[in-house]
């Protein structure tokens, strides 16, 4: 809102006050994220700026908290860092194990949510879809229903959702389930829970992309002799791909950041980064948490940048200019 030429002095004062207020709100939004970046390089085990940090003395800064991510849980942390040390760190260090779990669970949950969600979005955006509103409301609801309710329900149900390990079912599915043959305390259980939580985001982004999709392109493809498979992979998919990928990124972030369901349905083998952070904040908060937080902020900046680029590409493909 540029100031009009006819503005009175009072309005001018108000306009600049308004800009200052906006600046303060932006500061409120971004300051918490910015403040942890320098603090994660603190040489002291404090959560506040030391004098040395404020005078930009190099001694005030260190990488010790990043180093702590490698050594926590390492059986021979002080040994010389040769190849064996690194391979032990890769296997045993608490944060590295948590990161591996987080990525595995996140990737599989994303694949599950994106595949099922994209196919369903194709059906939902057809004009002849029956009960569209009701089904849409159901599929979005995992985002609306409080996570604690979902987690409580899953913790009841997944503890009962078991197969006998020595049965035929157990032989097929046993490797995905916990030792007792249940969904509770298993990787599969956490992956399914996270997929359900990611589905609303996939549905929303993909149906939004499809709403600008020209349905006559499908008829054109058919009339030119393409079968449904060819039509899907050669015509539909390239056009909706930006929406699908940004939905997938949303689903991944949802899983990567999720802690409540993990707290309720996962066992010690499914320790993830958020769960490790949650326990760390609850028990003995150490600046190592800030190092993890900084790494996560860098990851989210990268994800945000990819989503923005994808959205611009998608808008360009659909012929939408501007925002």
């Amino acid at each position: 809102m540029a100031l009009p030429t006819y503005a009175s002095p009072l309005e001018r004062v108000w306009y600049y006050t308004y800009l200052v207020i906006c600046a303060l709100i932006f500061l409120f939004l971004i300051a918490p994220i910015l403040v942890i970046l320098p603090l994660s390089f603190n040489a002291e085990p404090y959560f506040t700026f030391t004098e040395k940090m404020l005078t930009f003395d190099p001694e005030g800064y260190s990488l010790r908290w990043y180093d702590a991510l490698l050594t926590l849980g390492h059986p021979t942390a002080d040994a010389p860092r040769d190849a064996a040390w690194w391979s032990t760190a890769w296997e045993r260090a608490t944060w590295i194990r948590a990161a591996k779990n987080s990525f595995w669970i996140g990737i599989w949950a994303t694949i599950l949510a994106t595949t099922l969600g994209t196919i369903a979005a194709l059906g939902l955006s057809r004009p002849e879809m029956p009960y569209r509103r009701l089904i849409m409301a159901l599929l979005i609801s995992p985002m609306i229903v409080p996570i604690i309710i979902i987690a409580v329900g899953m913790s009841f149900f997944f503890a009962k959702a078991c197969v006998a390990p020595d049965s035929a079912m157990g032989a097929i599915f046993g490797m995905f389930l916990s030792e007792k043959g249940c969904l509770a305390n298993s990787h599969l259980g956490v992956i399914m829970a996270h997929a359900v939580l990611g589905i609303p985001f996939v549905i929303i982004t993909v149906t939004a992309t499809l709403s600008g999709f020209d349905q006559s392109l499908i008829r054109a493809a058919h009339s030119l002799g393409a079968n449904p498979r060819t039509t899907f992979f050669k015509v539909i998919m390239p056009l909706i791909l930006p929406g699908v990928i940004s939905g997938a990124l949303f689903a991944f972030v949802t899983s990567f950041d999720e802690v409540v369901a993990v707290l309720f349905i996962a066992g010690p083998d499914q320790q993830t980064i958020p769960r490790q952070m949650f326990n760390g904040i609850r028990e003995a908060i150490s600046p190592a948490i800030l190092a993890v937080a900084t790494i996560l902020v860098v990851i989210s900046v990268l994800l945000l940048a990819s989503v923005e680029l994808l959205r611009r590409r998608s808008d360009r493909l659909r012929g939408v200019t501007g925002r």
Binding site: G117, P130, M192
Partner: protein, 417 residues
């Protein structure tokens, strides 16, 4: 080709056109539905069935019914017994069950079940079970001699009620009722913790919604009226917190607001507060409100922004040229047009705030806990049925709000970024 009166239009192979069209439409509907079906089945298995299971658990508890078979049988035969004065046979059944519980080590489970409606019964059961095997008839006098509390009418009402596996009792407990000697009654004013916490959760959520609205309105307005290049840059400041891990943001607020934290240090350094008078902004309600406002603010800014962006600036100019002051223009022309965005953002923020768990759990301390934290607390104490009943009550209020959101705004309009 003119239609002959009375003759039906048909397709090339002679079928009536209407039937052929209906068949084609049914086929198209089936195809569309088949695409959605796999996801529906998945959501059914991992979302609806668990929630249904939770609802079942909120009515179900066999802790007493399975460990006191003699008394359950006696209650079934004598539905009209007088709880104020149960006969000798009832006491005989009770003593034999108590002896059995001692052997099978089920005293705790059974006592816990009664304890929900009649507080203080776990220790009573444990004491009774220890001596039950040595008691001699008449059992009534013998048991009352061990502890006169065994004759309380409330206890007998509680045991009768607990002899059924399915019961609405947990909803009564979750709405602050308890079993007295005269039957179910509301607890004393200072004991109504559950409904109090529900009320507090709704009030705090409303407060957070209002703060979010007050903060989001100017920012969304600025973003909507700035030239695109500038607003895209500023939008990053809104989207970055949105994309940043919730735990990261909660951690930063702890770093900023705790007693030895950045904000307090700055205030002390500036001489605004004394070193001994550091503000307590963390591990209390203030911490919960500040951190939750920060987490939920983007959910208010984004819907407001998408509505404000399409409001033509010419309306405001027209109002001004017709003589309205800038305040009148804002109040009578601009504000009414932003109402859909205000409604969408406020409802979304309110819904998300009511069910919030992580932030209050980490920064709320004792005072800043919300209803979700109470559910988690009862889950950790193995009070599953009670946790499920509170969760079911929360679920109903959320679904009402969700229905309202769909009515007023429509879930199709939900978007991010």
């Amino acid at each position: 080709m003119a239609e002959v009166a009375g003759e039906l239009l048909t397709t090339a192979d002679g079928r009536p056109l209407k039937a052929a069209l209906q068949a084609a439409q049914a086929r198209a509907r089936r195809r569309a539905f088949l695409l959605v079906l796999p996801l529906l089945l998945f959501v059914l298995l991992t979302f609806l069935v668990p929630i249904g299971y939770m609802l079942k658990r909120s009515f179900e508890h066999d802790g007493f019914a399975s460990s006191a078979p003699a008394l359950v049988a006696w209650f079934a035969e004598n539905p009209d017994f007088d709880p104020a004065n149960p006969p000798e046979e009832a006491f005989a059944a009770l003593v034999s069950d108590l002896a059995r519980m001692q052997v099978e080590k089920t005293t705790g489970v059974a006592g816990t079940r009664i304890n929900y409606s009649v507080p203080g019964t776990i220790s009573l059961f444990k004491g009774g079970a220890r001596v039950a095997a040595d008691l001699q008839p008449p059992y009534k006098e013998a048991l009352l001699a061990v502890d006169p509390a065994w004759g309380r009418p409330a206890l007998w009402r509680g045991m009768e009620s607990a002899s059924h596996v399915y019961t609405p009792e947990f909803y009564l407990v979750a709405s602050d009722h308890k079993l007295t000697d005269a039957g179910w009654a509301r607890g004393a004013e200072n004991e109504r913790i559950y409904l109090y916490l529900f009320g507090k959760t709704f009030l705090v959520s409303a407060l957070i919604t209002l703060i979010c609205l007050a903060l989001a309105f100017p920012v969304a307005h600025l973003l909507a009226t700035l030239p695109l290049a500038k607003s895209s840059l500023l939008m990053i400041l809104v989207l970055l917190p949105f994309w940043t891990s919730l735990l990261v943001r909660t951690t930063s607020w702890i770093v900023l607001l705790q007693e030895q934290g950045v904000v307090n240090n700055v205030l002390v350094a500036l001489g605004l507060i004394d070193n001994s008078g550091r503000l307590a902004m963390m591990y209390n309600m203030t911490g919960t409100v500040v951190a939750m406002t920060h987490v939920l603010l983007p959910f208010m800014i984004l819907p407001l922004y998408s509505v404000m962006r399409v409001i033509p600036p010419s309306y405001a100019r027209a109002a001004r040229s017709l003589g309205a002051t800038s305040w009148t223009t804002f109040r009578r022309v601009y504000l009414p047009q932003t109402l859909p965005g205000i409604a969408a953002g406020s409802l979304l923020v309110f819904i998300l705030a009511v069910g919030y768990y992580i932030t209050p759990a980490l920064v709320g301390g004792a005072d800043g806990q919300l209803i979700s934290n109470l559910i988690a607390f009862h889950m950790s104490k193995s009070n599953w049925s009670l946790a499920a009943a509170i969760a079911a009550m929360l679920l109903v209020s959320i679904l009402l709000l969700y229905w309202l959101y769909d009515r007023l705004i429509g879930i199709d309009r939900l978007k991010f970024g």
